[in-house]
Amino acid sequence: MEQSSITLSIENVTFGFNGKELFKGIDLRVFQGEIFAIVGTSGSGTSTFLKLCVGLLKPWQGVIGINGIDITTVSFQQLNKIRLRIGFVFQDGGLISNMTLLDNVALPLRYHTALHEEAVMGIAERRLSLVEISGYEEYFPAQLSMECKTRAGLARALVLDPNLIFYDEPTAGLDEDKSDSLLRLIKRLRDESGVTSVVVSHDMDFAARTADRIAVIEDGRMKMVRGRVKGEG
């Protein structure tokens, strides 16, 4: 692992809702190519933490750096540019319900690139093949199982070749076999493409099997379970 290359850095982040503090001075560094798991009980704010990391929410104070750029101070246009290097896999895929799976995966390419339709389709089909759901191209999200939706969400997250992917509860609603299959896929992406992964889960067992390092969010603070959170490298 290249310890000198920090993909995600969080410094002294404090955030809450309606004046009530949810996170207190959180510090975190995630390095290029590692799989980092954040475990928390329901309501501990793990999903909120991911939203802070991708700029969907703004912290009360602190710095959130992605690939060396502080996303709390950039303009909306700059933030959208930074997001091109980020993937985000929602709990149920976060797919657009009135688009087929292929159109969902092709969406970022159609919006952000000037590629011809044939090239777009080619890339989208390859990503669906990579996450092992070829054959479902013309299905709509409502017609798919939870696992398929999560995999399709991952295919869409991968389509612009990001170097950092956030997973929000990727194994929620999946049995052990399917969780293992997804785990292998996350590790394969790390090994083959060097993609950094930040995985949020309630399942400590899954986190232990997946991650290089694990942190737990408890009482608004991040505590390290495996590895050290602060001052790595």
Binding site: L56, R83, I96, L107, P108, Y111, H112, T113
Partner: protein
Amino acid sequence: MSTLTGWVGNRFLSILHDTNKICDLLYLSLRDTFISIRKWHGNRLIFQVLQKQILFTGVDALPIISIISLLLGAIVITQSTTQLPMIGGEDFIGKVIVLVIIRELGPLVTAMVVIARSGSAIATELGIMSVNKEIEALEVMGISITRFLIFPRIIGSLIAILCLSVYFDIMAILGGFIISKIQLVTPFDVYIYRISLALNPGDIGISLMKCAVFGVIIAILSSYHGLKVKCCSTEVPQATTRAIVSSIVVCFLFNSAVTIIFYI
């Protein structure tokens, strides 16, 4: 008394807050679009959304607009051509038809149909997208909500309502006459001649201007209320109701303002 004053004050502040947010949404959708037009990327995708919006708001509304315009046209024409001659007002038949159909009912009734069909659909669709976290998913992908979702709906509604209004006027004046012909004695050429005398380019211009603004009002208010839905599916019908009611109120207010400014 103080409770009532407080309620009125809160409602007033809430309306001011909503108006500010709606203007902000309109500004952002225009700004994002004009900024991104230069990049060219994604415009094909935006155009597809625009096409779908025009198809749904305009083309799919033709049957209902046809029925309403024919019936309304027949009512107005029958009343004016039977009642006005009794008080010696045959010469005003064209004026009344232009006044009622082209100036007022054409734009307003078209707007009501678009609110009922498309305004409610926009608010519901965006509300469901919010609940399903599809809006967040788009934002995380770096896709501008205002450019991808709002702008095509504004332009689509604007184009569709303009075309529908012209179609409404033609169907109401010509189709209404044909339906009313059963009991009318006025010859068609006389009828058309009277309308052409009463009609001036200003009436058509103001009617089209009203329709264009109605299109923007309906799309932006429906989008705003749809996007206000946060986490609960029961918020969706409430947002849809708010979108419909506010669109109707604002369209009538605007229509009244135009009438006062241009015709009094």
